[in-house]
Protein backbone atom coordinates (compact mmCIF):
# COMPACT_ATOMS: atom_id res chain seq x y z
CA UNK A 1 0.00 0.00 0.00
CA UNK A 2 2.88 2.39 0.74
CA UNK A 3 3.85 2.39 -2.93
CA UNK A 4 0.32 3.03 -4.19
CA UNK A 5 0.68 6.84 -4.48
CA UNK A 6 3.91 6.30 -6.42
CA UNK A 7 2.25 3.75 -8.72
CA UNK A 8 -0.79 5.94 -9.16
CA UNK A 9 1.32 8.97 -10.01
CA UNK A 10 3.34 6.95 -12.52
CA UNK A 11 0.23 5.52 -14.11
CA UNK A 12 -1.58 8.84 -14.46
CA UNK A 13 1.47 10.85 -15.41
CA UNK A 14 -0.13 11.35 -18.81
CA UNK A 15 -3.80 11.33 -17.93
CA UNK A 16 -5.33 11.34 -21.41
CA UNK A 17 -3.16 8.45 -22.58
CA UNK A 18 -3.83 6.38 -19.48
CA UNK A 19 -7.58 7.05 -19.56
CA UNK A 20 -7.77 5.97 -23.21
CA UNK A 21 -5.76 2.84 -22.47
CA UNK A 22 -7.93 2.18 -19.46
CA UNK A 23 -11.07 2.59 -21.56
CA UNK A 24 -9.87 -0.01 -24.04
CA UNK A 25 -9.26 -2.44 -21.17
CA UNK A 26 -12.67 -1.62 -19.67
CA UNK A 27 -14.37 -2.37 -23.00
CA UNK A 28 -12.39 -5.61 -23.41
CA UNK A 29 -13.35 -6.86 -19.96
CA UNK A 30 -16.97 -5.72 -20.28
CA UNK A 31 -17.10 -7.76 -23.48
CA UNK A 32 -15.41 -10.62 -21.68
CA UNK A 33 -18.00 -10.53 -18.89
CA UNK A 34 -20.94 -10.37 -21.30
CA UNK A 35 -19.69 -13.08 -23.65
CA UNK A 36 -18.78 -15.37 -20.78
CA UNK A 37 -22.26 -14.86 -19.38
CA UNK A 38 -23.73 -15.87 -22.75
CA UNK A 39 -21.50 -18.92 -22.89
CA UNK A 40 -22.33 -19.93 -19.33
CA UNK A 41 -26.03 -19.46 -20.09
CA UNK A 42 -25.79 -21.70 -23.14
CA UNK A 43 -23.82 -24.32 -21.32
CA UNK A 44 -25.76 -24.09 -18.09
CA UNK A 45 -27.82 -27.11 -19.08
CA UNK A 46 -24.65 -29.16 -19.32
CA UNK A 47 -22.98 -27.56 -16.34
CA UNK A 48 -25.91 -28.16 -14.05
CA UNK A 49 -26.53 -31.65 -15.37
CA UNK A 50 -26.70 -34.30 -12.72
CA UNK A 51 -24.25 -37.14 -13.39
CA UNK A 52 -26.82 -39.57 -12.02
CA UNK A 53 -29.45 -38.55 -14.56
CA UNK A 54 -29.79 -40.22 -17.96
CA UNK A 55 -32.06 -39.26 -20.80
CA UNK A 56 -33.74 -41.87 -22.94
CA UNK A 57 -35.07 -40.65 -26.27
CA UNK A 58 -36.12 -42.32 -29.49
CA UNK A 59 -33.03 -43.69 -31.18
CA UNK A 60 -33.18 -41.69 -34.38
CA UNK A 61 -34.92 -38.46 -33.41
CA UNK A 62 -35.93 -36.75 -30.24
CA UNK A 63 -39.24 -35.78 -31.84
CA UNK A 64 -40.27 -39.42 -32.21
CA UNK A 65 -42.43 -40.40 -29.22
CA UNK A 66 -41.83 -43.43 -27.03
CA UNK A 67 -44.48 -45.66 -25.45
CA UNK A 68 -45.37 -44.76 -21.85
CA UNK A 69 -45.17 -48.44 -21.07
CA UNK A 70 -41.39 -48.27 -21.30
CA UNK A 71 -41.29 -46.64 -17.87
CA UNK A 72 -41.95 -49.87 -16.00
CA UNK A 73 -39.38 -51.81 -17.99
CA UNK A 74 -36.74 -49.17 -17.48
CA UNK A 75 -37.48 -49.10 -13.74
CA UNK A 76 -36.59 -52.77 -13.55
CA UNK A 77 -33.08 -52.29 -14.90
CA UNK A 78 -30.56 -52.92 -12.10
CA UNK A 79 -29.08 -49.65 -10.87
CA UNK A 80 -32.08 -47.53 -11.87
CA UNK A 81 -33.68 -45.84 -8.88
CA UNK A 82 -36.27 -43.64 -10.56
CA UNK A 83 -37.92 -42.88 -13.90
CA UNK A 84 -39.95 -39.91 -15.06
CA UNK A 85 -41.24 -38.96 -18.46
CA UNK A 86 -41.78 -35.67 -20.22
CA UNK A 87 -43.56 -34.74 -23.42
CA UNK A 88 -43.17 -31.64 -25.54
CA UNK A 89 -46.33 -29.56 -25.76
CA UNK A 90 -45.17 -26.72 -28.03
CA UNK A 91 -46.85 -23.71 -26.46
CA UNK A 92 -47.69 -20.13 -27.24
CA UNK A 93 -49.27 -17.63 -24.93
CA UNK A 94 -51.45 -14.81 -26.29
CA UNK A 95 -49.44 -14.35 -29.51
CA UNK A 96 -46.87 -16.01 -31.71
CA UNK A 97 -43.86 -14.37 -30.13
CA UNK A 98 -44.65 -15.58 -26.62
CA UNK A 99 -43.32 -19.10 -27.05
CA UNK A 100 -41.86 -21.11 -24.18
CA UNK A 101 -41.37 -24.77 -23.32
CA UNK A 102 -44.29 -26.65 -21.81
CA UNK A 103 -43.76 -30.23 -20.71
CA UNK A 104 -46.39 -32.75 -19.79
CA UNK A 105 -45.09 -34.65 -16.78
CA UNK A 106 -46.04 -36.81 -13.85
CA UNK A 107 -45.74 -34.15 -11.14
CA UNK A 108 -44.24 -36.17 -8.31
CA UNK A 109 -41.92 -38.28 -10.43
CA UNK A 110 -40.66 -35.36 -12.45
CA UNK A 111 -40.02 -33.04 -9.51
CA UNK A 112 -38.28 -35.86 -7.63
CA UNK A 113 -35.94 -36.11 -10.57
CA UNK A 114 -34.85 -32.45 -10.26
CA UNK A 115 -34.05 -31.71 -6.61
CA UNK A 116 -32.25 -28.54 -7.73
CA UNK A 117 -35.64 -26.95 -8.53
CA UNK A 118 -37.32 -25.24 -5.62
CA UNK A 119 -41.09 -25.41 -5.15
CA UNK A 120 -43.06 -25.02 -1.94
CA UNK A 121 -44.61 -28.23 -0.56
CA UNK A 122 -48.07 -26.66 -0.94
CA UNK A 123 -47.52 -25.91 -4.64
CA UNK A 124 -46.05 -29.34 -5.23
CA UNK A 125 -49.00 -30.97 -3.50
CA UNK A 126 -51.47 -28.86 -5.48
CA UNK A 127 -49.74 -29.78 -8.75
CA UNK A 128 -49.91 -33.50 -7.97
CA UNK A 129 -53.53 -33.24 -6.89
CA UNK A 130 -54.91 -31.06 -9.72
CA UNK A 131 -55.39 -32.85 -13.03
CA UNK A 132 -55.59 -29.56 -14.94
CA UNK A 133 -52.82 -28.10 -12.80
CA UNK A 134 -49.69 -26.42 -14.06
CA UNK A 135 -46.59 -24.93 -12.44
CA UNK A 136 -44.57 -22.17 -14.08
CA UNK A 137 -40.98 -21.03 -13.73
CA UNK A 138 -40.72 -17.86 -11.67
CA UNK A 139 -39.07 -15.77 -14.39
CA UNK A 140 -41.78 -16.78 -16.84
CA UNK A 141 -44.53 -16.02 -14.32
CA UNK A 142 -42.95 -12.64 -13.60
CA UNK A 143 -42.65 -11.90 -17.32
CA UNK A 144 -46.37 -12.46 -17.94
CA UNK A 145 -47.49 -11.32 -14.47
CA UNK A 146 -49.11 -14.69 -13.79
CA UNK A 147 -50.53 -15.32 -10.34
CA UNK A 148 -51.04 -18.68 -8.67
CA UNK A 149 -54.73 -19.52 -8.82
CA UNK A 150 -55.40 -18.02 -12.25
CA UNK A 151 -56.35 -19.84 -15.42
CA UNK A 152 -53.54 -20.33 -17.90
CA UNK A 153 -54.77 -20.29 -21.52
CA UNK A 154 -52.11 -21.78 -23.77
CA UNK A 155 -52.15 -22.78 -27.44
CA UNK A 156 -50.31 -25.87 -28.56
CA UNK A 157 -48.64 -26.03 -31.94
CA UNK A 158 -48.80 -29.79 -32.20
CA UNK A 159 -51.37 -31.18 -29.80
CA UNK A 160 -55.07 -30.62 -30.54
CA UNK A 161 -57.61 -31.54 -27.91
CA UNK A 162 -60.20 -34.22 -28.59
CA UNK A 163 -62.51 -31.53 -29.93
CA UNK A 164 -59.85 -30.49 -32.45
CA UNK A 165 -59.05 -27.19 -30.75
CA UNK A 166 -55.47 -26.21 -30.15
CA UNK A 167 -56.46 -23.98 -27.21
CA UNK A 168 -55.85 -25.44 -23.81
CA UNK A 169 -56.56 -24.11 -20.39
CA UNK A 170 -54.75 -25.04 -17.21
CA UNK A 171 -54.92 -23.93 -13.59
CA UNK A 172 -51.72 -22.31 -12.40
CA UNK A 173 -51.18 -23.96 -9.02
CA UNK A 174 -47.51 -23.33 -8.32
CA UNK A 175 -44.29 -21.53 -9.07
CA UNK A 176 -40.98 -23.20 -9.76
CA UNK A 177 -37.59 -21.64 -9.11
CA UNK A 178 -33.95 -22.49 -8.37
CA UNK A 179 -31.44 -21.06 -5.92
CA UNK A 180 -28.51 -21.48 -8.32
CA UNK A 181 -28.65 -18.83 -11.07
CA UNK A 182 -27.18 -21.33 -13.52
CA UNK A 183 -30.11 -23.69 -12.86
CA UNK A 184 -32.68 -20.90 -12.93
CA UNK A 185 -32.54 -20.81 -16.73
CA UNK A 186 -33.78 -24.40 -16.76
CA UNK A 187 -36.95 -23.36 -14.95
CA UNK A 188 -38.11 -21.08 -17.78
CA UNK A 189 -40.96 -23.47 -18.58
CA UNK A 190 -44.43 -24.59 -17.65
CA UNK A 191 -45.10 -28.11 -16.42
CA UNK A 192 -48.56 -29.57 -16.94
CA UNK A 193 -50.05 -32.73 -15.50
CA UNK A 194 -49.65 -35.56 -18.00
CA UNK A 195 -52.69 -37.41 -16.61
CA UNK A 196 -55.03 -34.70 -17.90
CA UNK A 197 -52.99 -33.95 -21.03
CA UNK A 198 -52.87 -37.57 -22.18
CA UNK A 199 -56.58 -37.99 -21.69
CA UNK A 200 -57.54 -34.73 -23.38
CA UNK A 201 -55.30 -34.83 -26.44
CA UNK A 202 -56.49 -36.10 -29.77
CA UNK A 203 -53.35 -37.86 -30.97
CA UNK A 204 -50.38 -39.60 -29.43
CA UNK A 205 -52.10 -41.03 -26.42
CA UNK A 206 -50.04 -43.50 -24.43
CA UNK A 207 -46.83 -41.98 -25.80
CA UNK A 208 -44.32 -39.65 -24.27
CA UNK A 209 -41.37 -37.65 -25.57
CA UNK A 210 -38.50 -38.94 -23.46
CA UNK A 211 -37.57 -40.49 -20.17
CA UNK A 212 -35.44 -39.14 -17.40
CA UNK A 213 -33.73 -41.95 -15.54
CA UNK A 214 -32.01 -41.66 -12.19
CA UNK A 215 -29.26 -44.18 -11.43
CA UNK A 216 -27.75 -45.06 -8.07
CA UNK A 217 -24.14 -44.94 -9.24
CA UNK A 218 -22.97 -42.45 -11.86
CA UNK A 219 -19.98 -44.62 -12.75
CA UNK A 220 -22.47 -47.21 -14.00
CA UNK A 221 -24.23 -44.71 -16.26
CA UNK A 222 -22.78 -46.10 -19.51
CA UNK A 223 -23.55 -49.71 -18.63
CA UNK A 224 -27.08 -48.88 -17.56
CA UNK A 225 -27.62 -46.79 -20.71
CA UNK A 226 -26.58 -49.77 -22.82
CA UNK A 227 -28.83 -52.09 -20.84
CA UNK A 228 -31.85 -49.79 -21.29
CA UNK A 229 -31.26 -49.47 -25.02
CA UNK A 230 -30.75 -53.23 -25.19
CA UNK A 231 -34.27 -53.75 -23.84
CA UNK A 232 -35.78 -52.12 -26.89
CA UNK A 233 -33.43 -53.23 -29.63
CA UNK A 234 -35.30 -54.36 -32.74
CA UNK A 235 -38.57 -53.01 -31.36
CA UNK A 236 -40.57 -50.42 -33.36
CA UNK A 237 -39.43 -47.81 -30.86
CA UNK A 238 -35.72 -48.23 -30.29
CA UNK A 239 -34.12 -45.93 -27.74
CA UNK A 240 -30.96 -43.95 -27.24
CA UNK A 241 -29.92 -43.40 -23.65
CA UNK A 242 -27.14 -41.04 -22.64
CA UNK A 243 -26.00 -39.04 -19.62
CA UNK A 244 -27.87 -35.76 -19.27
CA UNK A 245 -24.69 -33.71 -19.73
CA UNK A 246 -23.95 -35.32 -23.07
CA UNK A 247 -27.50 -34.74 -24.18
CA UNK A 248 -27.39 -31.05 -23.12
CA UNK A 249 -24.07 -30.45 -24.88
CA UNK A 250 -25.33 -32.08 -28.04
CA UNK A 251 -28.46 -29.96 -27.88
CA UNK A 252 -26.48 -26.74 -27.35
CA UNK A 253 -24.20 -27.62 -30.28
CA UNK A 254 -27.20 -27.78 -32.56
CA UNK A 255 -27.37 -23.98 -32.11
CA UNK A 256 -23.64 -23.60 -32.66
CA UNK A 257 -20.41 -24.08 -30.80
CA UNK A 258 -20.93 -21.04 -28.61
CA UNK A 259 -17.85 -21.81 -26.51
CA UNK A 260 -15.52 -21.83 -29.51
CA UNK A 261 -17.14 -18.72 -30.95
CA UNK A 262 -16.81 -16.81 -27.68
CA UNK A 263 -13.23 -17.98 -27.22
CA UNK A 264 -12.25 -16.81 -30.70
CA UNK A 265 -13.82 -13.39 -30.25
CA UNK A 266 -12.12 -12.95 -26.88
CA UNK A 267 -8.74 -14.04 -28.20
CA UNK A 268 -9.02 -11.40 -30.93
CA UNK A 269 -10.08 -8.74 -28.42
CA UNK A 270 -7.33 -9.49 -25.92
CA UNK A 271 -4.66 -9.84 -28.58
CA UNK A 272 -5.52 -6.32 -29.73
CA UNK A 273 -5.51 -5.08 -26.14
CA UNK A 274 -2.17 -6.77 -25.57
CA UNK A 275 -0.58 -4.93 -28.48
CA UNK A 276 -2.17 -1.56 -27.70
CA UNK A 277 -1.55 -1.62 -23.97
CA UNK A 278 1.85 -3.22 -24.29
CA UNK A 279 2.96 -0.46 -26.64
CA UNK A 280 1.58 2.23 -24.32
CA UNK A 281 3.28 0.68 -21.30
CA UNK A 282 6.59 0.42 -23.12
CA UNK A 283 6.34 4.03 -24.29
CA UNK A 284 5.44 5.22 -20.79
CA UNK A 285 8.43 3.45 -19.25
CA UNK A 286 10.77 4.70 -21.99
CA UNK A 287 9.76 8.25 -21.12
CA UNK A 288 10.44 7.64 -17.45
CA UNK A 289 13.89 6.09 -17.68
CA UNK A 290 15.51 9.02 -15.78
CA UNK A 291 12.82 8.80 -13.09
CA UNK A 292 13.44 5.09 -12.64
CA UNK A 293 17.16 5.85 -12.45
CA UNK A 294 16.43 8.36 -9.68
CA UNK A 295 14.50 5.72 -7.75
CA UNK A 296 17.51 3.45 -8.03
CA UNK A 297 19.77 6.32 -6.96
CA UNK A 298 17.66 6.81 -3.86
CA UNK A 299 18.19 3.18 -2.92
CA UNK A 300 15.39 1.29 -4.64
CA UNK A 301 16.92 -2.04 -5.61
CA UNK A 302 16.72 -3.45 -9.14
CA UNK A 303 14.13 -5.92 -7.91
CA UNK A 304 12.03 -3.21 -6.33
CA UNK A 305 12.04 -1.04 -9.45
CA UNK A 306 11.16 -4.10 -11.55
CA UNK A 307 8.30 -4.90 -9.18
CA UNK A 308 7.07 -1.29 -9.34
CA UNK A 309 6.87 -1.37 -13.13
CA UNK A 310 5.10 -4.72 -13.06
CA UNK A 311 2.78 -3.49 -10.33
CA UNK A 312 1.87 -0.53 -12.52
CA UNK A 313 0.73 -2.92 -15.25
CA UNK A 314 -1.16 -4.97 -12.67
CA UNK A 315 -2.83 -1.83 -11.30
CA UNK A 316 -3.87 -0.81 -14.81
CA UNK A 317 -5.42 -4.22 -15.41
CA UNK A 318 -7.07 -4.33 -11.98
CA UNK A 319 -8.65 -0.95 -12.62
CA UNK A 320 -9.67 -1.63 -16.21
CA UNK A 321 -10.65 -5.23 -15.58
CA UNK A 322 -12.59 -4.39 -12.43
CA UNK A 323 -14.51 -1.53 -14.04
CA UNK A 324 -15.15 -3.61 -17.18
CA UNK A 325 -16.43 -6.61 -15.26
CA UNK A 326 -18.45 -4.30 -13.03
CA UNK A 327 -20.02 -2.79 -16.14
CA UNK A 328 -20.87 -6.27 -17.41
CA UNK A 329 -22.51 -7.14 -14.08
CA UNK A 330 -24.38 -3.84 -14.07
CA UNK A 331 -25.68 -4.53 -17.57
CA UNK A 332 -27.10 -7.95 -16.67
CA UNK A 333 -30.48 -6.84 -15.25
CA UNK A 334 -31.13 -4.66 -18.30
CA UNK A 335 -30.07 -7.42 -20.69
CA UNK A 336 -32.10 -10.05 -18.88
CA UNK A 337 -35.07 -7.72 -18.92
CA UNK A 338 -34.72 -7.01 -22.62
CA UNK A 339 -34.74 -10.71 -23.56
CA UNK A 340 -38.14 -11.00 -21.92
CA UNK A 341 -37.11 -14.34 -20.48
CA UNK A 342 -36.73 -15.89 -23.94
CA UNK A 343 -33.08 -16.51 -23.22
CA UNK A 344 -31.58 -18.28 -20.21
CA UNK A 345 -30.72 -15.79 -17.45
CA UNK A 346 -27.35 -14.12 -17.95
CA UNK A 347 -25.17 -13.73 -14.89
CA UNK A 348 -21.50 -13.27 -14.02
CA UNK A 349 -20.62 -16.07 -11.65
CA UNK A 350 -17.59 -16.65 -9.44
CA UNK A 351 -15.95 -18.75 -12.14
CA UNK A 352 -16.17 -15.90 -14.64
CA UNK A 353 -14.65 -13.50 -12.09
CA UNK A 354 -11.80 -15.95 -11.46
CA UNK A 355 -11.25 -16.37 -15.18
CA UNK A 356 -11.23 -12.59 -15.61
CA UNK A 357 -8.65 -12.31 -12.82
CA UNK A 358 -6.49 -14.93 -14.52
CA UNK A 359 -6.77 -13.17 -17.90
CA UNK A 360 -5.97 -9.82 -16.27
CA UNK A 361 -2.92 -11.32 -14.55
CA UNK A 362 -1.72 -12.85 -17.82
CA UNK A 363 -2.19 -9.60 -19.77
CA UNK A 364 -0.49 -7.61 -16.99
CA UNK A 365 2.45 -9.99 -17.09
CA UNK A 366 2.71 -9.82 -20.88
CA UNK A 367 2.59 -6.01 -21.05
CA UNK A 368 4.52 -5.37 -17.84
CA UNK A 369 7.36 -7.82 -18.11
CA UNK A 370 9.31 -6.34 -21.06
CA UNK A 371 9.48 -2.79 -19.60
CA UNK A 372 10.03 -4.24 -16.12
CA UNK A 373 13.05 -6.17 -17.37
CA UNK A 374 14.32 -3.05 -19.07
CA UNK A 375 13.95 -1.16 -15.80
CA UNK A 376 15.77 -3.98 -14.05
CA UNK A 377 18.78 -3.74 -16.37
CA UNK A 378 18.86 0.04 -16.19
CA UNK A 379 22.26 1.45 -15.16
CA UNK A 380 21.92 4.60 -13.08
CA UNK A 381 24.93 6.39 -14.48
CA UNK A 382 23.94 5.72 -18.11
CA UNK A 383 20.30 6.65 -17.54
CA UNK A 384 21.14 9.90 -15.75
CA UNK A 385 23.63 10.91 -18.41
CA UNK A 386 21.01 10.26 -21.10
CA UNK A 387 22.68 7.23 -22.74
Amino acid sequence: MRYLPLLWAGLFRKKARTILTLLSIVVAFALFGLLQAVQVAFESGADTADAKRLLTTARYSIIEPLPMSYARRIEQVPGVVGVASADWFGAKYQNESNAFPVFAVDPARYLDMYPEFTITPAHREAFARTRTGAVAGKRLADRFAWQVGQKLPISSEIHPKTDGSLSWEFDLVGILDADDPAVRGNTDMVLINVAYFDEARQIGRGKTGWYIVRVADSTQARTISATIDGLFTNSPDETKTQPEKEFALGFAKQIGDIGALVTRILIAVFFTILILTGNTMAQSIRERIPELAILKTLGFSDGKVTALVLAEAVLLLILGGGIGMGAAVAAMPTLNGSTGGRFPPLFVGAETWLLAAAVAALVALCIGLPPALRANRLKIVDALSGH
Partner: protein, 232 residues
Protein backbone atom coordinates in the same frame (compact mmCIF):
# COMPACT_ATOMS: atom_id res chain seq x y z
CA UNK B 1 44.65 19.84 17.14
CA UNK B 2 41.70 17.42 17.14
CA UNK B 3 42.05 14.38 14.87
CA UNK B 4 39.04 14.08 12.55
CA UNK B 5 37.98 10.60 11.46
CA UNK B 6 38.14 9.87 7.74
CA UNK B 7 34.69 9.19 6.32
CA UNK B 8 35.67 8.46 2.72
CA UNK B 9 38.93 6.71 1.94
CA UNK B 10 39.78 6.27 -1.73
CA UNK B 11 42.83 4.21 -2.66
CA UNK B 12 44.33 3.72 -6.12
CA UNK B 13 40.90 3.94 -7.74
CA UNK B 14 40.70 3.44 -11.48
CA UNK B 15 37.68 3.48 -13.71
CA UNK B 16 37.62 2.12 -17.21
CA UNK B 17 34.72 2.38 -19.65
CA UNK B 18 34.43 0.30 -22.74
CA UNK B 19 32.86 1.61 -25.92
CA UNK B 20 32.88 -1.36 -28.22
CA UNK B 21 36.53 -2.35 -28.54
CA UNK B 22 37.74 0.96 -27.24
CA UNK B 23 38.96 1.06 -23.64
CA UNK B 24 38.70 4.45 -21.97
CA UNK B 25 40.41 4.90 -18.62
CA UNK B 26 38.66 7.82 -16.95
CA UNK B 27 40.35 7.68 -13.53
CA UNK B 28 43.96 6.71 -13.05
CA UNK B 29 44.73 5.56 -9.51
CA UNK B 30 43.02 8.22 -7.44
CA UNK B 31 43.88 8.51 -3.74
CA UNK B 32 41.73 10.76 -1.61
CA UNK B 33 40.67 11.02 2.02
CA UNK B 34 37.57 12.98 3.00
CA UNK B 35 37.22 13.53 6.72
CA UNK B 36 33.86 13.36 8.40
CA UNK B 37 32.18 16.79 8.33
CA UNK B 38 34.24 18.01 5.40
CA UNK B 39 32.85 19.98 2.46
CA UNK B 40 34.90 19.15 -0.64
CA UNK B 41 34.51 20.78 -4.03
CA UNK B 42 35.63 18.51 -6.88
CA UNK B 43 36.74 20.77 -9.70
CA UNK B 44 38.20 20.32 -13.10
CA UNK B 45 37.51 20.72 -16.79
CA UNK B 46 34.90 18.69 -18.67
CA UNK B 47 36.01 15.08 -19.09
CA UNK B 48 38.39 15.27 -16.14
CA UNK B 49 36.54 12.46 -14.35
CA UNK B 50 35.08 14.47 -11.49
CA UNK B 51 31.49 13.24 -11.99
CA UNK B 52 32.79 9.69 -12.38
CA UNK B 53 34.62 10.03 -9.08
CA UNK B 54 31.49 11.50 -7.46
CA UNK B 55 29.40 8.57 -8.76
CA UNK B 56 31.91 6.15 -7.24
CA UNK B 57 31.86 7.95 -3.87
CA UNK B 58 28.04 7.92 -3.91
CA UNK B 59 27.87 4.22 -4.80
CA UNK B 60 26.15 4.86 -8.14
CA UNK B 61 28.92 3.06 -9.94
CA UNK B 62 31.74 0.70 -9.00
CA UNK B 63 35.45 1.23 -9.65
CA UNK B 64 37.41 -0.94 -12.04
CA UNK B 65 40.29 -1.08 -9.58
CA UNK B 66 41.29 0.16 -6.15
CA UNK B 67 39.15 0.52 -3.06
CA UNK B 68 36.57 2.93 -1.70
CA UNK B 69 35.75 2.79 1.97
CA UNK B 70 32.97 4.93 3.37
CA UNK B 71 32.67 4.76 7.15
CA UNK B 72 33.58 1.16 7.78
CA UNK B 73 32.20 -0.28 4.53
CA UNK B 74 34.22 -1.24 1.45
CA UNK B 75 31.53 -0.10 -0.97
CA UNK B 76 33.49 -1.29 -4.00
CA UNK B 77 32.89 -4.84 -2.77
CA UNK B 78 29.13 -4.56 -2.28
CA UNK B 79 26.67 -6.28 -4.60
CA UNK B 80 24.10 -4.22 -6.51
CA UNK B 81 21.40 -4.86 -3.91
CA UNK B 82 23.72 -4.12 -0.98
CA UNK B 83 24.90 -0.96 -2.65
CA UNK B 84 21.29 0.18 -3.14
CA UNK B 85 20.54 -0.42 0.54
CA UNK B 86 23.76 1.35 1.51
CA UNK B 87 22.87 4.38 -0.62
CA UNK B 88 19.40 4.51 0.91
CA UNK B 89 20.85 4.58 4.42
CA UNK B 90 23.97 6.72 4.02
CA UNK B 91 23.90 9.00 0.98
CA UNK B 92 21.80 11.95 -0.14
CA UNK B 93 21.99 13.04 -3.79
CA UNK B 94 21.54 16.48 -5.33
CA UNK B 95 21.74 16.82 -9.12
CA UNK B 96 22.09 19.72 -11.51
CA UNK B 97 18.62 19.20 -13.02
CA UNK B 98 16.98 18.41 -9.67
CA UNK B 99 15.58 15.08 -10.92
CA UNK B 100 12.32 15.32 -9.06
CA UNK B 101 9.48 13.05 -10.12
CA UNK B 102 7.16 15.43 -12.01
CA UNK B 103 3.96 13.56 -11.17
CA UNK B 104 4.53 13.81 -7.40
CA UNK B 105 4.07 16.81 -5.14
CA UNK B 106 7.08 18.28 -3.34
CA UNK B 107 5.99 16.48 -0.18
CA UNK B 108 5.73 13.10 -1.96
CA UNK B 109 9.08 13.63 -3.68
CA UNK B 110 10.72 14.25 -0.33
CA UNK B 111 9.01 11.18 1.13
CA UNK B 112 10.41 8.90 -1.59
CA UNK B 113 13.58 7.74 0.25
CA UNK B 114 11.48 7.05 3.35
CA UNK B 115 9.41 4.48 1.46
CA UNK B 116 12.39 2.20 1.94
CA UNK B 117 12.27 2.57 5.73
CA UNK B 118 9.92 1.10 8.29
CA UNK B 119 8.35 4.46 9.06
CA UNK B 120 4.57 4.69 9.04
CA UNK B 121 2.80 6.98 6.56
CA UNK B 122 2.24 9.58 9.28
CA UNK B 123 5.91 9.48 10.31
CA UNK B 124 7.00 9.77 6.71
CA UNK B 125 4.79 12.82 6.25
CA UNK B 126 6.19 14.36 9.44
CA UNK B 127 9.82 13.77 8.41
CA UNK B 128 9.19 15.17 4.95
CA UNK B 129 7.49 18.19 6.46
CA UNK B 130 10.52 18.82 8.71
CA UNK B 131 12.93 18.53 5.76
CA UNK B 132 10.83 20.94 3.70
CA UNK B 133 10.75 23.37 6.62
CA UNK B 134 14.52 23.12 6.87
CA UNK B 135 14.88 24.22 3.25
CA UNK B 136 12.21 26.90 3.69
CA UNK B 137 9.53 25.31 1.51
CA UNK B 138 6.95 24.10 4.00
CA UNK B 139 4.32 26.21 2.22
CA UNK B 140 5.09 24.54 -1.13
CA UNK B 141 4.55 20.97 0.05
CA UNK B 142 1.56 20.31 -2.18
CA UNK B 143 3.05 21.88 -5.29
CA UNK B 144 4.19 19.78 -8.21
CA UNK B 145 7.74 20.44 -9.52
CA UNK B 146 6.41 22.30 -12.58
CA UNK B 147 4.74 24.76 -10.19
CA UNK B 148 8.05 25.63 -8.55
CA UNK B 149 10.96 27.82 -9.63
CA UNK B 150 14.35 26.25 -10.37
CA UNK B 151 15.74 27.30 -7.00
CA UNK B 152 12.69 25.90 -5.22
CA UNK B 153 12.98 22.64 -7.13
CA UNK B 154 16.61 22.35 -6.08
CA UNK B 155 15.68 23.01 -2.47
CA UNK B 156 13.04 20.25 -2.68
CA UNK B 157 15.78 18.00 -4.06
CA UNK B 158 17.98 18.95 -1.09
CA UNK B 159 15.11 18.19 1.29
CA UNK B 160 14.79 14.80 -0.39
CA UNK B 161 18.53 14.26 -0.02
CA UNK B 162 18.55 14.93 3.70
CA UNK B 163 15.19 13.50 4.76
CA UNK B 164 16.62 10.11 5.70
CA UNK B 165 19.44 11.84 7.61
CA UNK B 166 22.37 10.52 5.53
CA UNK B 167 26.01 10.90 6.57
CA UNK B 168 27.14 11.96 3.13
CA UNK B 169 25.69 14.50 0.68
CA UNK B 170 26.75 14.04 -2.91
CA UNK B 171 26.04 17.04 -5.14
CA UNK B 172 26.62 17.07 -8.88
CA UNK B 173 26.70 20.66 -10.19
CA UNK B 174 23.85 21.63 -7.84
CA UNK B 175 23.83 25.23 -9.07
CA UNK B 176 24.65 24.60 -12.71
CA UNK B 177 21.12 25.41 -13.82
CA UNK B 178 20.51 28.39 -11.52
CA UNK B 179 21.14 32.14 -11.67
CA UNK B 180 23.81 33.60 -9.39
CA UNK B 181 21.47 34.77 -6.63
CA UNK B 182 19.53 31.55 -6.48
CA UNK B 183 22.77 29.56 -6.71
CA UNK B 184 24.09 31.42 -3.69
CA UNK B 185 20.90 30.61 -1.73
CA UNK B 186 21.26 26.92 -2.56
CA UNK B 187 24.96 26.90 -1.73
CA UNK B 188 24.33 28.65 1.60
CA UNK B 189 21.77 25.98 2.36
CA UNK B 190 24.29 23.23 1.58
CA UNK B 191 26.83 25.08 3.73
CA UNK B 192 24.36 25.20 6.63
CA UNK B 193 23.82 21.45 6.29
CA UNK B 194 27.58 21.02 6.48
CA UNK B 195 28.32 23.49 9.25
CA UNK B 196 25.29 23.10 11.46
CA UNK B 197 24.07 19.57 10.76
CA UNK B 198 27.44 17.91 10.31
CA UNK B 199 26.79 16.49 6.85
CA UNK B 200 29.87 15.59 4.88
CA UNK B 201 29.46 17.15 1.44
CA UNK B 202 31.19 16.24 -1.80
CA UNK B 203 30.23 18.62 -4.59
CA UNK B 204 31.22 18.64 -8.23
CA UNK B 205 31.29 22.11 -9.72
CA UNK B 206 32.77 24.10 -12.57
CA UNK B 207 32.03 27.32 -10.80
CA UNK B 208 34.89 28.80 -8.73
CA UNK B 209 32.38 30.95 -6.84
CA UNK B 210 30.41 27.85 -5.88
CA UNK B 211 33.64 26.16 -4.83
CA UNK B 212 34.29 29.00 -2.39
CA UNK B 213 31.52 27.66 -0.20
CA UNK B 214 33.47 24.42 0.29
CA UNK B 215 36.06 23.92 3.02
CA UNK B 216 38.54 22.66 0.44
CA UNK B 217 38.94 22.05 -3.26
CA UNK B 218 40.22 19.02 -5.11
CA UNK B 219 41.28 19.42 -8.73
CA UNK B 220 41.09 16.69 -11.29
CA UNK B 221 42.49 16.74 -14.78
CA UNK B 222 42.40 13.84 -17.22
CA UNK B 223 41.55 11.42 -14.45
CA UNK B 224 44.34 12.44 -12.14
CA UNK B 225 44.39 14.68 -9.09
CA UNK B 226 46.46 17.66 -10.09
CA UNK B 227 47.24 19.08 -6.67
CA UNK B 228 47.19 18.09 -3.06
CA UNK B 229 43.98 19.04 -1.33
CA UNK B 230 44.41 22.57 -0.13
CA UNK B 231 42.27 24.08 2.64
CA UNK B 232 39.89 26.60 1.12
Amino acid sequence: MIAVATLVEIRRVTKVYRRGRERIEVLHGIDLDIPSGDFVALMGPSGSGKTTLLNLIGGLDTPTGGSITVGDRRIDQLSGGELAAWRAAHVGFVFQFYNLLPALSAQRNVELPLLLTDLSAAERRRHARIALTLVGLEDRARHKPRELSGGQEQRVAIARAIVSDPTLLVCDEPTGDLDRATADEVLRLIQVLNHEHGKTVVMVTHDPKAAEYARRRVHLDKGTMTAEPVPA
